[in-house]
């Protein structure tokens, strides 16, 4: 059997009905301890419901929205950054390979790669050759471009290309971005 005092919380929240309520009230009439407990708990409830709601300093919404805008800008940048890094790393990588290929005047491949080390060498040599070829192609294209342009137009042409790239980057950054899931 439950002690009648255990019904106090339910009584406070107005959840006791009929018989149970009567049962507790009878007990309260004779038990000073439970009466004290009820009045203490009741007072705590009243004090809590009267306690003030703290509000933030004025301008809270604006501060949140400013932080949000900052975060969004950073998120867009992180979306563009990998592409930019890849685009700038690719020519560097190719150029490095071709430089190595040019420095070592060692043309042919090994006759029959027997060990894993020899196979690695073979692969490296092929890569170097490819790099050299790529570098030659690039220099050929560059030479052709420069040759096609009248000497006075080289600088304006470079600026135009730079400007177009900046416009492209700006468009990517400002494009609306759907929310993350």
């Amino acid at each position: 059997m439950v002690h009648r005092g255990e019904l106090i919380p339910a009584y406070l929240d107005g959840e006791l009905v009929g018989e149970e309520e009567q049962w507790l009230e009878e007990h309260l009439a004779v038990c000073a301890r439970c009466r004290d407990e009820l009045s203490d708990l009741n007072e705590v409830g009243v004090l809590l419901s009267e306690a003030p709601l703290f509000s933030p300093q004025p301008g809270f919404t604006a501060r949140v929205m400013a932080r949000l805008a900052q975060k969004e800008a950073r998120r867009r940048l992180t979306r563009v950054a990998p592409a930019l890094v890849a685009v700038s790393l690719l020519p560097t990588f190719l150029a490095l390979l071709s430089v190595v290929g040019l420095l070592i005047p060692w043309g042919g491949t090994l006759a029959a790669p027997a060990t894993l080390i020899e196979l690695g060498f073979d692969l490296l040599l092929r890569l170097m050759q490819t790099g050299t070829t790529l570098a030659q192609t690039c220099s050929f294209l560059l030479g052709a471009t420069l040759g096609a342009l009248p000497p006075g137009l080289l600088l304006p042409y470079s600026f135009l290309m730079l400007g177009l790239m900046m416009v492209w980057a700006k468009l990517v950054i400002r494009a609306p971005l759907p929310l993350k899931n």
Partner: protein, 202 residues
């Protein structure tokens, strides 16, 4: 609490939809509406204005990036307050390793007992209950805050904290009991102090 009426809740759902479509104004309206509820929770949980401001801002930023996971069938305020509650609990956990000066409870204001006016006493008790609340374990404090300031039902608090309704009820009751005990002790020591003061007076 705002949005108790079905009509208002419909308007609120519209704001959420608009915010999801990228309308920042709509999200700003949600922030404006719930700033006090979220800030008060953070303040009562963390105990100082600086941390409360930061935690409340962080709550809205998180809500924005998780807006897609909000289920419109649920009350928006419960969803938002759950984010706030978890963030505050996380902060308190981190704090255990880096105790800032603000966490050390300041010396209690001595109540002199000289002013007989009941209203002033009442005001002091209201402040007192706020201070006592800070000494409750966070999980109990959270239940009290959500119940008394955010007007959530025990079932809704259960949803926020991942507890059953019964567990919330028993926590709420134990929290009230701890507060009642604290209040009683406070009163006894206050009356003791005032009697000493009177005794020392020439």
């Amino acid at each position: 609490m705002p949005f108790d009426k079905a009509q208002d809740r419909e308007g609120e759902r519209g704001w959420v939809r608009e915010a999801l479509a990228g309308d920042q104004e709509a999200f700003a309206r949600l922030v404006k509406n719930y700033q006090a509820a979220v800030y008060n929770l953070a303040y009562r949980m963390l105990g100082n204005a600086g941390d409360a401001e930061d935690a409340a801002q962080e709550t809205f930023l998180r809500a924005y990036s998780r807006l897609r996971s909000y289920d419109p069938a649920r009350k928006f305020s419960s969803w938002l307050l759950a984010i706030a509650a978890h963030h505050c609990i996380d902060r308190l956990r981190r704090r255990r390793w880096a105790i800032s000066l603000e966490d050390i409870p300041l010396g209690r204001k001595l109540s002199t007992g000289r002013d007989p006016e009941r209203e002033i006493e009442r005001e002091e008790e209201r402040e007192e209950i706020g201070r006592l609340l800070e000494h409750l374990p966070p999980a109990y404090r959270l239940v009290v805050i959500l119940y008394y300031w955010n007007d959530l039902s025990c079932r809704q608090i259960g949803e926020v904290m991942g507890l059953g309704e019964g567990a919330v009820k028993s926590r709420l009751h134990r929290a009230r009991r701890m507060l009642a005990q604290g209040l009683r002790e406070e009163r006894e020591s206050a009356s003791h102090r005032s009697s000493v003061t009177i005794g020392e007076a020439p």
